[in-house]
């Protein structure tokens, strides 16, 4: 099978990987690079579990062709903590009980990270909009919204 070389910035580190033409960014992160923090839910852009930042913007990695990330900056949940030390957004999620089964959490964290970077003091409505593409079956969303609000006030 023909493969193509993808060079890109993954969590600020240069990364190179040989991939098939039609691989999605999600396929490459999970199956080639074994970065399994990014979750595969629906695979069709509906659930947001696979959310990563591409050049700072939240995208569903299941609907991005991996080769389109050539030379671009990708950030995943693995890039949030510094070693063993959680980021303060991650800490807020824990404090506000915004994590139950955890399946949506990486996607939620990435949508929130994208939002807070562009808009450090969002309104509740802006927070709701920013996570409107991320489904959560457990928390009822309020703890997640509270966690993001808390982080925006730190």
């Amino acid at each position: 099978m023909t493969t193509f070389t993808l060079h890109f910035w993954l969590n600020n580190q240069p990364e190179s990987v040989e991939i098939p033409l039609t691989a999605t960014l999600l396929d490459v992160l999970r199956d080639e690079l074994h970065m399994t923090g990014t979750k595969r839910g629906c695979g069709i852009g509906e659930c947001g579990a696979c959310t990563v930042l591409l050049n700072g913007q939240a995208v569903n990695s299941c609907t991005v062709l991996a080769l389109q990330a050539q030379g671009q900056k990708v950030e995943t949940v693995e890039g949030l903590a510094k070693g063993e030390e959680l980021s303060s957004l991650q800490q807020s999620f824990i404090e506000e009980h915004a994590v139950q089964c955890g399946f949506c959490t990486s996607g939620m964290l990435m949508s929130a990270t994208g939002l807070l970077r562009q808009n450090p003091h969002p309104s509740e409505k802006e927070i709701r909009t920013a996570i409107s593409g991320n489904l959560c079956r457990c928390t009822g969303y309020m703890p997640i919204i509270k966690a993001i609000e808390k982080e925006s006030k730190r």
Partner: protein, 285 residues
């Protein structure tokens, strides 16, 4: 077939790349990759051309009254563009209701038109605005009305070797009303949507345009059905007449389908709401 991946950075190299038969273009990928996922490995595209780095296709500009929007403009860009927000805010409003933030960050206007889903959100607006698309191929270009470009469910006039480069329209004199009925706010493709523009002097209708989307394979243009209104006063009977005419037109084209039990009353209500709001708007100076 030899596998090929080409990333073009300008329009000329793009036109050369797509002149070869069998090349599949990818913009945001939000429609394409979902289709590709369903294909057997042997049927997946073997030669792909990436549009995402062609900066020339991401511009929005206004010349006189003519708005030109690059085909690679995303919903997010449309929502936040100062020119759009000032001169044709309904485009920003409709874009803000598409999918989810993740989809709006990736999905493009050109991709939506070429994908030609009957449920695409922006399509009724393009028809109402009498927007045109520019299709370019190596050494050639042509301009079509969106109305003529869209042929049916995932069918368009795009020919092999052609790329859509621009969408353009005139800024209308009156504001346009847009409404969408979806399943839930994010990630819901419209179940029904529509837009309306109404110009009036006092109680007399001067111009009226009304387009309903997602009920028929291509948006349903009801401008002719409203023409009895021109230079006549606004009456509630006429409103009822247009609303039931809209249902009849949908039935003629799409037949009575499974969704009909809720769709027909919903169409009637949507038409009423659009007309009432556009009437209020049309009185403003």
């Amino acid at each position: 077939m030899n596998q090929v991946w080409i990333q073009c950075e300008d329009k000329n190299s793009l036109l050369t790349a797509i002149a070869e038969p069998g090349r599949v273009m990818i913009a945001g990928g939000t429609d394409l990759l979902i289709n590709v996922r369903r294909l057997a490995p042997a049927d997946k595209p073997a030669q792909m051309v990436d549009l995402s780095l062609v900066e020339e296709l991401k511009n929005i500009h206004l010349e006189g009254n003519m708005l030109t929007i690059g085909s690679m403009v995303t919903y997010t860009q449309l929502m936040t563009d100062p020119l759009i927000r000032k001169h044709l805010p309904v485009l920003a409003e409709a874009a803000s209701q598409v999918g989810s933030p993740q989809i709006r960050n990736r999905g493009t206007l050109g991709g939506s038109l070429v994908n030609a889903s009957p449920a695409a959100d922006m399509a009724p607006l393009w028809i109402l605005l009498k927007a045109q698309v520019k299709l370019e191929s190596f050494g050639k270009e042509r301009i079509l009305l969106v109305e003529d470009f869209l042929l049916g469910h995932q069918k368009t006039m795009l020919a092999p070797g052609e790329v859509m480069t621009e969408i353009r329209c005139l800024i209308p004199k009156k504001s346009v009303i847009y409404q969408k009925i979806g399943r839930r706010n994010a990630a819901a493709i419209a179940r029904l949507n529509g837009c309306c523009l109404l110009d009036r002097q006092e109680d007399t209708v001067k111009e009226i345009r009304l387009v309903i989307g997602a009920a028929t394979p291509t948006p349903l243009d009801l401008q002719k059905d409203c023409s009895g209104w021109i230079d006549k006063p606004w009456t509630i009977e006429r409103l009822d007449e247009v609303a039931s005419q809209a249902m009849r037109r949908v039935e003629e084209i799409s037949g009575r389908r499974a969704s009909a039990t809720w769709k027909f009353p919903a169409i009637e209500n949507l038409v009423r709401r659009l007309l009432l709001d556009a009437w209020a708007e049309g009185g403003k100076q």
